[in-house]
């Protein structure tokens, strides 16, 4: 029957067996690759509550979210003015300060403390740390400078410091995550 078409029973079995082995091979790779992704305990929803009542204008603190630092900064009116003066279209990652803060809380700048270049913790949140030439944050690893809205202004980092999801639980408590 099939032999008349040039397909022998043996060819069919050969192709079917090799195909099945190929599919099974791909199936085996899935767990081998997937096991390296973040495990359930790492992914488990974590949120951090930060008490911001004691942060004076011009001051900042570091909190911890997903084992990484978060900067909570109380901007001074002068710093807000500096941030708003910048022509947004001239920025590498164009965003206004309003887009990076919550309405009515423009003085509270909450960003990840993770440089978008290669992940160092920028300086500028701690007391007495250099804030770079734009008055925001300065990453000592490769010299990225962020302005008072934590937007990238100079150096190799491609993006502004990431703003995590957060909300104000009360006027003095922020829930991050």
């Amino acid at each position: 029957m099939a032999e008349a078409d040039g397909v022998r029973r043996r060819d069919f079995i050969n192709i079917a067996a090799v195909s099945a082995a190929g599919v099974a091979g791909v199936g085996v790779v899935v767990p081998l690759v997937s096991q390296m992704s973040a495990s359930a305990d790492v992914l488990a929803a974590s949120s951090t509550e930060v008490d911001i009542s004691s942060i004076q204008p011009g001051q900042a603190i570091k909190a911890i979210f997903r084992k990484q630092p978060v900067f909570v900064r109380n901007l001074t009116p002068h710093e807000i003015e500096e941030a708003n003066k910048v022509d947004v279209s001239s920025l590498r990652d164009p965003q206004t300060l309003e887009e990076r803060t919550k309405e009515g809380k423009e003085n509270w700048l909450i960003t990840m403390g993770v440089c978008t270049h290669l992940g160092c913790v920028p300086l500028g949140a701690g007391e007495g740390e250099p804030r770079g030439e734009f008055g925001g944050y300065f990453c000592p690893c490769h010299g990225s400078s962020y302005d008072t809205a934590a937007r990238i202004r100079k150096g190799p980092a491609p993006k502004n410091l990431e703003v995590p999801a957060y909300e104000f639980s009360t006027d003095t408590v922020v829930k991050i995550g």
Binding site: K62, L118, G119, V121, P140, G143, G155, P156
Partner: protein
Amino acid sequence: MSFPWAKQYTPSHPFMQWMDEKLPIPRLVYNAVGGGYEVPRNLNYFWNFGFLAGLCLVLQIVTGVIMAMHYAANTAVAFDTIEQTMRDVNWGWLMRYAHANGASAFFVVIYIHIFRGFFYGSYKAPREMVWLLGVVIFLLMMATAFMGYVLPWGQMSFWGAKVITGLFSAIPFIGEPLQQWLLGGFAPDNAALNRFFSLHFLLPFVILGVVILHIWALHIPGSSNPTGVEVKSESDTVPFYPYYVAKDGWAIGAFAILFCAAVFFFPNYLGHPDNYIPANPMSTPAHIVPEWYFWPFYAILRAFTQDFLFIPAKLMGVLAMFGAIIVWFFLPWLDKSPVRSGAYRPLYRKFFWILVLDMLVLFKCGGAPAAEPYVMISQLAALYYFAHFLIIIPIVSAIEKPDPLPFSITEAVLGADEEAKLAPAAAPEA
């Protein structure tokens, strides 16, 4: 695979004869590193570094397996187990200092080995495969060294891991998921430390495998030599044993003196004091640099500070850093000069030394803070680095007039080659 005049393995003891029939490992060894491997008689000391690289690999595997017996890959205790190894384990300090400085020694040896290859054109036909496998070994070494440096879980370990895995986040679209996949989390933590330990244990044995391929590929055409002239007759070679075994023995002695000086008298000179501070994800050290052997490539990474067309600066830096080594893969085909050795290439020789200088400048910049004037100097030096391989080498190999080559290795060594003089008389005019 071997020259016709190479000595044959002839076991005399009945046990060795029996062995030769059943599993001819002694024959393999004899033909690979014994009396059966014929080597050019004119190798200089730079040819000792291949052997020394093998010695370093063995040293790292032995001390590394011992270190692993006293180490625990858990962020809570990793730092302490290293300190415990240093203070409480019998001879633990020696094992760790030998392992840490052994990594540096390995890179010193391998850089000399690579630059020997650049100068003498060792990468050219018929040894392209030797060269390609060598570049693979170098990449594996870099990965292994990087992961090993993370294991003590000090400040430099942690931030090195963060920065280097951060390189992958530069890849468009898949970068961030890829970085999280590599780390098994959002930042280096227990998952990352564990897998780095697992891979740090595995990769040296992968390197060992590629080293065997490297030597295998080398032994098909046979070793190159400082004249770059291929072996022509029996008078051009000597057997590996005893001649080069003895010379490599001398190299072991010289290497051991320098290595022991480092291990016993300044074991921390090449390390960073910050790595004696336990990892702290909340604070980056003020001056974060990788180990010295990555500095030239790190300088290239940092040289890109401006976006180029649609490519972000970060991605450019990453591509350039990997490109700096990937370009070596193409070297056998970029250099079209039929003359191998730099000793007979007056123009290439000059550019070779400029490249050495350029690498030293990049080295210096890579270890310096990310500020002017180092950024600008590394930009210029990085530009020259790529120009050397992609522009200068092809042009030089096209326009250069090489010096006259000796007829044979024997003539280069003895000033005359009797067989060469006899040859024209013996052979009828064609």
